[in-house]
C-alpha cells in the first residue's frame, strides 16, 4: 500500500511517500508565489526518488495552512491531526508533540495510536516560530544556520520581549547598542522564543515523552533553549521538517485502510 502526504506550509511544501508504514522518499520545495507549482515539484521529486509514478499512489492526504491549495489530493487532515500521527509514528512513547514551523508553533497531546486528544496554537504571531529566528539573524547580521551554534557560546542570558517580532527586533537593537556580545543576544532570542512556546505547551500540559518536529527542530540553539525551559528531554526525528507530511501520509494509509 503506497500513500503520500503533502504538507502545504507557509514557507515550503513537503511531500512524503510511504509504503506499508515505511518512509520511501520525500520532496521539498520553497513555496514562493506559486504554491501549486511548488507542490507539483515537491511531489515529482519524491516520486522520482522512490522510483514511482503518480499512478502507484493509492491515496494522497493534504495538510498545512494551504492544504486546500495542494494538488491531486484525496482528503485533508488538520496540521495538528498530522502532528499527532507523525509524533506517535516516530516515537511510540511520545504523548506530547510540539511542531515549530515557519509561521506557527503548536502542540498536540496524543494517544499511542496517534489520535489527537487536545491541541494548542500560538496566537497569531510569528514571534514563536521560524520566521522570528530569520528576522533576528538578519538583525544580528549572521547567517541563519550560524545563529544556533553562536548562542551556545553565551555565558549569560539577557531577557528580551518576544511578544512580537517588531518589539523583539527593537529590543535586540538596544542590546546591540549596549554592546552585549552576539552569542548572548543570540541566546536571548532563543530563550524568548522558547519561553513563549513553553508557556503554550504548559497550557496543554506536558505529558512525557515530548517530541519536537517541524523545520525549527533542526536549530540547535532553539532546541537547547526549549529543553531548558520545559525541563525535559526532546525526541527529535532525523528529518523533523517532514513531520507534517509523514503524518498526512499515515492518515492516508488509515483512510484506505
Amino acid at each position: 500500500m503506497i500513500t503520500a502526504g503533502i504538507d502545504m506550509g507557509t514557507q515550503s511544501v513537503k511531500v512524503a511517500i510511504l509504503k506499508d508504514g515505511e518512509i520511501l522518499s520525500s520532496g521539498f520545495t520553497f513555496c514562493g508565489f506559486k504554491p501549486k507549482e511548488a507542490a507539483e515539484q515537491a511531489f515529482k521529486e519524491a516520486l522520482r526518488k522512490a522510483n514511482l509514478s503518480f499512478d502507484n499512489v493509492e491515496h494522497v492526504t493534504a495538510t498545512g495552512a494551504g492544504a486546500d491549495k495542494a494538488i491531486n489530493f484525496d482528503s485533508t487532515i488538520s496540521m495538528m491531526g498530522a502532528d499527532a500521527q507523525a509524533g506517535a509514528y516516530f516515537f511510540p512513547s511520545a504523548r506530547t508533540i510540539i511542531d515549530v514551523g515557519a509561521e506557527e508553533a503548536r502542540a498536540v497531546s496524543c494517544d499511542e495510536n496517534g489520535n489527537m486528544l487536545n491541541f494548542v496554537l500560538n496566537s497569531r504571531c510569528a514571534a514563536g516560530a521560524g520566521t522570528f529566528i530569520e528576522a533576528m539573524a538578519r538583525a544580528l547580521e549572521v547567517k541563519l544556520e550560524e545563529l544556533g551554534p553562536l548562542s551556545l557560546k553565551a555565558e549569560k542570558a539577557s531577557p528580551i520581549n518576544a511578544s512580537c517580532v517588531i518589539f523583539a527586533e527593537s529590543d535586540v537593537v538596544s542590546l546591540i547598542h549596549r554592546q552585549e556580545s552576539k552569542p548572548e543576544i543570540a541566546r536571548a532570542i532563543y530563550d524568548a522564543m522558547a519561553d513563549r512556546i513553553s508557556s503554550m505547551v504548559r497550557r496543554l500540559g506536558i505529558k512525557p515523552h515530548v517530541a519536537l518536529i517541524g523545520g525549527v527542530a533542526k536549530d540547535v540553539g532553539f532546541v537547547t533553549s526549549l529543553k531548558r525551559k520545559l525541563g525535559t528531554e526532546l525526541l527529535i526525528p532525523k528529518e523533523p521538517v517532514f513531520g507534517g507530511s509523514v503524518g498526512a501520509a499515515l492518515t492516508a494509509a488509515k483512510r484506505i485502510g
Binding site: A65, I77, G81, F119, S123
Partner: protein, 444 residues
C-alpha cells in the same frame, strides 16, 4: 455634579454629515451583503431548510420589513426603547406600549470605526456599538428614543457615557452578587426606577392590567422558546445557525408574531422528527458554544465555520446571552399584584443570569450548572469556549470551567477572536482540528 464641559465636549469627534453618510452607506451595503451571504450559506448547508425559516430570514434583515414597521410605528407616535445587554426588562417596555429593540452591535466594520475613539483592548461589541452610533449604521439605535444600558461589565458602563453624546441613556446597575437579600432589593429598586422613566417617556402609566398582559406575552414567548430549544435535544432536526437566527430575531421582532412563527417552526420540526428527516447525519459531532455573544450578522463567522467544516459539526445548544439564554427563563408570578409582578420581573433578569459579571461564594455556580446540565441533556460532544478579545470576565472564568469540563472528559477549546474577517483562516484551522478530534472520539 456636572463639570463645565457637560454638553460641550463629547467623547466622539464631530464629523460632517457628508462624511457620516458616506461611511454609513458603505457599511450598510457591506452589511446587506453579509446578511444575504449568511442566509445563502445556511441554505446551502441545509438544503431542505423549512419554508418557515423564510420569515426569520426576512426579520433578520436590519434594513428590511421590520425596520419599515418600526418606522411606521414611530411615526404613529410609539416610542422605541433600545437596550444593550439582556438586563433591560422588556415586559415594562411592552407594558408601556413601546417597542423594545436590542442594540448591541454585531458589525465588524463599525468596530474599526470605534477603534478611533477607544483602544483596541476594549471589547469589540462595545467598540462596534460606538461605531454604529457614530455613523448611524444601526437603524434601531438611531430610532431609539432612549437606550437602557445595564452596567454589567466595564465596557457597558463606559459605553453608557459615550452613547450619551447623542442619546438619552438610562442606566441600570445590577449587583455583582445576586444571592443576598440586599442585592435583590437593590435590583428591584433599579427596575422600579426604570419603570418610572419608561412611563415618563411614553406618557403611559404601567397599570397592573397592562403589566400583566405584557408578562403574559413574554411568558408565551418563553414557552415557544423553550419548546424550540427542547426539540434540539434529539437528533439534529435543525442546524445550529438557523436556531441561532430564530433566537436572535426575538431581540427586535414583534414578540407576539415571533412567538407564533416559532410555534409554527416547532410544528414543522416535530413533523420532521416523525419522518426522521434530519438536518445533518445524526452522528455529526454535537457542539456547544459558550462565552461572549455572537451577534448577527458578522459574528456568524464561527458558527459558519463549525457547520461548514470538514468534518462538519452541528451546534446543538449554546450558553450565550445572544442565544439560548434569551427567553429561556419566564417571569414567574405568584400573585398578579403590582408588587409581586415587579419582583417577578426583576428576578427573571437577575436570578436567571449566568453572565460572568456575577460571582458568589461558590463562584459563578449558575453558569457551571447550566453548562453541565446542557452538556448532558443535549449529548454535547465538545464545547467551544468563545471569547472576544477584551472580555476579561469570560476569559477569566475559563480557568476553572476548563478544568471542570476536563474532569468529566468533555473536550473544550478556547477560541479567541476579534471583530475582523481577516482571521477566518486561522479560526478555520482551529475549528476543523477540534471537530476532527470530536469525530475521532464519536467514532470510538
Amino acid at each position: 455634579m456636572a463639570t463645565e464641559f457637560e454638553g460641550k465636549i463629547k467623547s466622539t469627534p464631530e464629523m460632517s454629515p457628508k462624511e457620516i453618510e458616506e461611511m454609513r452607506s458603505t457599511m450598510e451595503s457591506v452589511s446587506r451583503k453579509v446578511i444575504a451571504e449568511n442566509i445563502e450559506r445556511m441554505k446551502k448547508t441545509w438544503p431542505n431548510r423549512p419554508k418557515t425559516m423564510q420569515y426569520f430570514d426576512e426579520i433578520s434583515n436590519f434594513f428590511g420589513k421590520r425596520l419599515e414597521e418600526i418606522r411606521a410605528q414611530k411615526e404613529a407616535d410609539k416610542k422605541i426603547i433600545g437596550y444593550s445587554c439582556m438586563f433591560a426588562p422588556i415586559e415594562l417596555i411592552l407594558a408601556a406600549d413601546a417597542i423594545p429593540v436590542r442594540i448591541d452591535s454585531g458589525w465588524y466594520d463599525a468596530a474599526k470605526l470605534g477603534d478611533t475613539i477607544v483602544a483596541v483592548e476594549v471589547c469589540p461589541v462595545i467598540r462596534s456599538t460606538i461605531g454604529t452610533q457614530m455613523v448611524n449604521l444601526s437603524p434601531y439605535l438611531e430610532l431609539s428614543d432612549a437606550i437602557i444600558i445595564s452596567l454589567t461589565c466595564d465596557g457597558r458602563t463606559k459605553l453608557s457615557e459615550i452613547l450619551r453624546d447623542d442619546k438619552t441613556v438610562w442606566t441600570m446597575c445590577p449587583p455583582r452578587m445576586k444571592d443576598s437579600p440586599h442585592s435583590r432589593k437593590l435590583w428591584v429598586e433599579e427596575v422600579k426606577a426604570i419603570k418610572e422613566k419608561i412611563e415618563d417617556l411614553t406618557g403611559t402609566e404601567i397599570t397592573r392590567k397592562r403589566l400583566r398582559s405584557a408578562i403574559e406575552l413574554t411568558q408565551r414567548a418563553s414557552k415557544a422558546f423553550r419548546r424550540f430549544q427542547k426539540i434540539r435535544k434529539g437528533n439534529p432536526v435543525i442546524m445550529g445557525r438557523d436556531a441561532m437566527l430564530v433566537n436572535q430575531t426575538s431581540m427586535w421582532d414583534d414578540i407576539k408574531r415571533w412567538t407564533q412563527k416559532t410555534e409554527e417552526l416547532c410544528d414543522e420540526l416535530k413533523n420532521r422528527i416523525a419522518q426522521k428527516k434530519w438536518a445533518c447525519p445524526p452522528d455529526t459531532p454535537r457542539v456547544m458554544v459558550t462565552g461572549t455573544p455572537m451577534i448577527w450578522p458578522d459574528s456568524w463567522k464561527i458558527p459558519n465555520l463549525i457547520e461548514e467544516a470538514n468534518p462538519q459539526g452541528v451546534l446543538v445548544v449554546d450558553e450565550l446571552c445572544s442565544g439560548d439564554r434569551l427567553l429561556y427563563d419566564p417571569v414567574g408570578v405568584d400573585e398578579w399584584t403590582m408588587s409581586d409582578m415587579m419582583d417577578a420581573v426583576a428576578e427573571r433578569y437577575l436570578l436567571a443570569s449566568t453572565c460572568p459579571c456575577f460571582t458568589s461564594e461558590h463562584g459563578n455556580d449558575d453558569r457551571i450548572n447550566w453548562l453541565l446540565d446542557r452538556i448532558k441533556e443535549y449529548r454535547v460532544d465538545g464545547v467551544i469556549y468563545y471569547v472576544l478579545r477584551g472580555c476579561i470576565l469570560y476569559a477569566m472564568e475559563y480557568a476553572r470551567i476548563k478544568r471542570i469540563l476536563e474532569s468529566i472528559d468533555v473536550p473544550v477549546y478556547y477560541l479567541d477572536t476579534e471583530y475582523t474577517r481577516e482571521d477566518v483562516g486561522q479560526m478555520k484551522t482551529r475549528v476543523e482540528a477540534f471537530l476532527e478530534m470530536l469525530e475521532t472520539r464519536v467514532a470510538l
